[in-house]
Subunit: 582 residues, 2 copies
């Protein structure tokens, strides 16, 4: 094997790199982290499967092989891969369009969605298309996550109330909840509301209380994380002891005792074409969530994340989920932070977690037979309400109305029309707002700041000007949406001013001149020539100049191209009384 | 009536302005131009109606009221409005999707398309959305016009051959032509090929020949323009004299003798929703064609065109066409140039043309009974082949591969998938190519050009630098598609260089910092701080600075914001041996 091959293998299979340096210390730290994460993941996995509309074991299965595959191919040391809230909601929305919940077709469609999503992630990674995720702007992501949190919480109310409800938009969910309100089960409500209040209290009040009573902060922390397990144990025992299942409390029921089964997704062309766009959205959203968690944690330890390799790791994890009874997965925020805080040093911690969950799937599932669904709903509600953050509306309003519009539209459309429409509309809208802004660029007439060689806007600074020389700084690349704009602006400006003999286009902010803009410049040059005015350019950047030299424009240009705006000023004002000689 | 009302009326109804100054000289010039244009328009209108799949009189009707309405509301002095080749082709493609050619439904759908298109244009004009047309880049327009010319010529071969063919893409047309080739009629072919060759010769060879024989150039010019009328007269007489209609030559046949009838478009919701997107495309394409002709002609006489008022003029013309038996119209290139060259001074020339065409519709239609369709097809083929121009492929290839890609894709997709898909794909592709470029912006490390205060790329110019100070010029606005890019670039750059103590972002080319980029800058500032490196900015523009001042970023920034890059250089290198003191 040559060195090249080894380097290549290490690049695409990072485990070959860190695995060789693995030692006893790292093993101990990883083991401790794995135990803590496993305890937290058992109720969470069951709950997210419920949210996705799948049987509870699907959540466990989706956490086992995917974690191991990510440990082999991923680059983050602390990322914990598995079902997460937003992707579970998107799975429910996508699969609900092609199959009825509870049918075999529904579970198979979820497998297909996972494999499709994995294939898309893998392809993006191999083609180095990770940059595509950048088109999801921060405001759109923030708006989408907040709206998803609300949608998820609303969708769980039915379990808290013990009634039936459905829908993938807020109005649908609220309408069906309201319609069935009369069927509400008082005991279920008592369990659901009780568990919710308890979990909120555990989150906010338990740790300070324990510390005040003299418990060590680290132990108090573990107690806080075990809160959901406590709620699960207490409510399960209550249902078992008092026979509440016979009094209308919905329970998890029979969960097969098994390692993840080998499952076969369907590859029918109709199913693939129906699920392709949702799979693409799930891939991109999942990738963005995962990479932001991974980078935040990596930065704390001065490690680097390779986005394209992350795509490969997540792609492998999702394909694994699709063949072992799971559904789409990604790197989760809460579980990764817990993993990191618990001291996980390498991806091996993930592998140990997978072993823990496999043991749970094999041995512990009979214990959750009497677990009320209301308790699982409570854990979801408490978890997702931390995602809801409307402060982005305020900060973006203060900073930029365009960004605010993108956030507000994303939130409203996600709530009103569902996750897929919401996030797609957010992306398209932010692109359109940007194009609109660049189609009407900021243009400044500039003059010389006295005593310097620096030129600034005549309206904002005290500067020297010359009546025969107009210098126009265009604050935008020149390309098709604004090609006509500059032509109109300059012609309107010189039409009003008989003294003008030179127009200088200061191109320090022009990063591209495309073919349409080149033609517009040719027209401008020609029209100014007819008026007896010379057109010059200054501070044209290297890459832009390289392009212009390939065209005929520079031969036709009536004036010159100056390296700096100061050179232009010196040359064009030389025949007149200089107003600001250095 | 107050002065304000009069100003407002003059703005939206330009005839109130020029009509008052109308005099005898202008009347004479307009009259002469009208006669020349009328003679040219009679065969052209019949031919374009044929291309649109409508009865020949529709072409005449579409030239009468629309011309008058444009004369009242439009701003161009020379623009001649009526059926044009590309819009006729687009009409055939759009209406062909909802009705069978030759049925009453087809003609009604064409009326609806005209009214819809008129409504869209009017709305765009009133809402001042004329800038939207700028999103059709020059390369996309050039590619689209070339491909349309080929499609139109191909669609007319069936009339030259006397066979049946159909389809809205080149493969469809060629396939159906080939299938029916055995039905070809030799006499029709003789007429069609003869007329085509004759018209080509008239276009290229007649004028030089006449001038060489001593005919005055102006008269030779008129003879050239009357060429199509000559072909019409000769072939009509031949069909009449030799009874060729009975020997399989397709003729125009009965055309009603009537002024434009009052017609009622259908406003059924299904029809409107089916035709809305085609109407939008026709409106935008028609507007772009019309405005470029109008501006070219206006520039020759130092007049200005108001794009938003043009939209209103074209909107009124199309609504007029829809209620008087026509179909979508726009300002045509050939007819407008002829009108201008013939000396038209005001839009009244158009009104006189309308009167001429009304007389033709009322009195002359029996004369075209025996006119062979092959002759009309020949006039279309000769007219549109002048639109076909592949040189844009070569010039855009030399200038920019992105522009070339947009042209090539537009041509191929228009030919292969039809006009609507072609032009839409061209617009979307040019936007995506632009976004792709801005997502990976050009970044230059800059140094001081010795003896100046000017900073340029260290790789292109001989400049002074300081090992402790890195100055990075970002050649792009900072916004969501490239927000992460800068962060990665700077961190990679400083990671490799232990001497760096200051990073200066030179923002002369940064026209916008959006919310996503602001967050990325905050992260960058934080990470550099952890490394003991100070982050500065220089040459931040007014509008960008206004925004930053609304955020917390400037308080958190570890370094300073310098007015000019030279100030930054002086301040940051002051504590070291200055390398390039002024």
């Amino acid at each position: 094997m040559t060195t090249d091959l080894i380097t290549l293998a290490k690049r695409y299979v990072p485990v070959l790199d860190w695995g060789r340096r693995y030692n006893r210390d790292a093993f101990q730290n990883d083991m401790i982290a794995a135990v803590i994460v496993t305890i937290m993941l058992i109720p969470q996995s069951l709950a997210y499967a419920l949210l996705a509309g799948l049987p509870p074991e699907a959540g466990l299965y989706a956490s086992i092989l995917p974690i191991i595959l990510y440990a082999i191919f991923g680059t983050s040391r602390a990322l914990a891969v598995g079902p997460v809230a937003v992707v579970s909601l998107m799975t429910a929305a996508a699969v609900g369009q092609v199959a009825e919940q509870g049918t075999a077709g529904y579970a198979i469609a979820a497998l297909t969605l996972a494999v499709l999503s994995g294939g898309i992630l893998l392809a993006m990674g191999l083609l180095k298309l990770g940059f595509l995720a950048n088109f999801l702007s921060h405001p759109v992501i923030a708006g989408f996550i907040t709206a998803s949190g609300i949608l998820i919480a609303a969708s769980q109310f039915k379990h808290i109330l013990g009634i039936d409800a459905h829908g993938h938009t807020l109005p649908e969910v609220l309408y069906t909840l309201n319609e069935n309100m009369n069927d509400a089960n008082p005991i279920t409500i008592a369990i659901g509301v009780g568990a919710t209040l308890f979990l909120f209290w555990v989150r906010k009040g338990l740790k300070p209380l324990l510390i005040a009573r003299g418990v060590k902060p680290k132990l108090a922390d573990v107690a806080q994380k075990a809160g959901p397990v406590g709620a699960v144990v207490v409510t399960t025992l209550a249902v078992f002891a008092f026979g509440l299942a016979d009094r209308g409390v919905a329970i998890v029921g029979q969960v097969p005792q098994s390692l993840p089964p080998l499952t076969m997704p369907s590859f029918s062309p109709e199913l693939i074409s129906a699920l392709f766009v949702p799979a693409l959205l799930i891939s991109v959203i999942g990738f963005v969530e995962s990479i932001s968690v991974a980078e935040t944690l990596a930065a704390k330890k001065r490690q680097r994340i390779d986005p394209d390799q992350e795509l490969i790791g997540l792609g492998a994890a999702n394909i694994g989920a699709g063949f072992t009874g799971g559904y789409p997965v990604t790197g989760g925020f809460a579980r990764s932070v817990v993993n990191f805080d618990a001291g996980a040093e390498t991806p091996a911690a993930g592998a140990f977690t997978a072993v823990g969950l496999a043991i749970a799937a094999l041995a512990l599932t009979p214990l959750v037979f009497f677990l009320p669904k209301a308790t699982l709903a409570a854990t979801i509600i408490v978890a997702v309400l931390s995602l809801v953050d409307f402060s982005i509306l305020k900060t973006s309003w203060g900073y930029s109305k365009a960004d605010f519009t993108a956030v507000a539209a994303t939130i409203l459309l996600t709530l009103g029309l569902g996750v897929e429409t919401g996030v797609s509309a957010g992306v398209v809208l932010s692109i359109l707002l940007h194009l609109y802004k660049t189609s009407k660029p900021h243009v400044a007439e500039v003059g010389l700041v006295p005593g310097t060689q620096h030129f600034r806007n005549i309206r904002r600074h005290v500067v020297d000007t010359d009546p025969a020389v107009i210098t126009i700084r265009i604050d935008e690349s020149l390309y098709f949406p604004n090609a006509r704009f500059l032509e109109d602006y300059v012609l309107d400006r010189v039409a009003a001013d008989k003294d003008v003999r030179h127009v200088v286009l200061m191109c320090s902010a022009v990063n591209v001149i495309d073919y349409s803009a080149l033609e517009a410049l040719e027209v401008l040059n020609h029209r100014l020539k007819d008026m007896g005015i010379t057109l010059h350019m200054s501070e044209v950047k290297g890459p832009v100049m390289d392009r212009l030299e390939k065209s005929h424009f520079l031969q036709e240009l009536t004036g010159r191209v100056f390296l700096s705006q100061f050179d232009a000023w010196v040359a064009l004002t030389a025949d007149r009384t200089p107003k600001a000689a250095e």
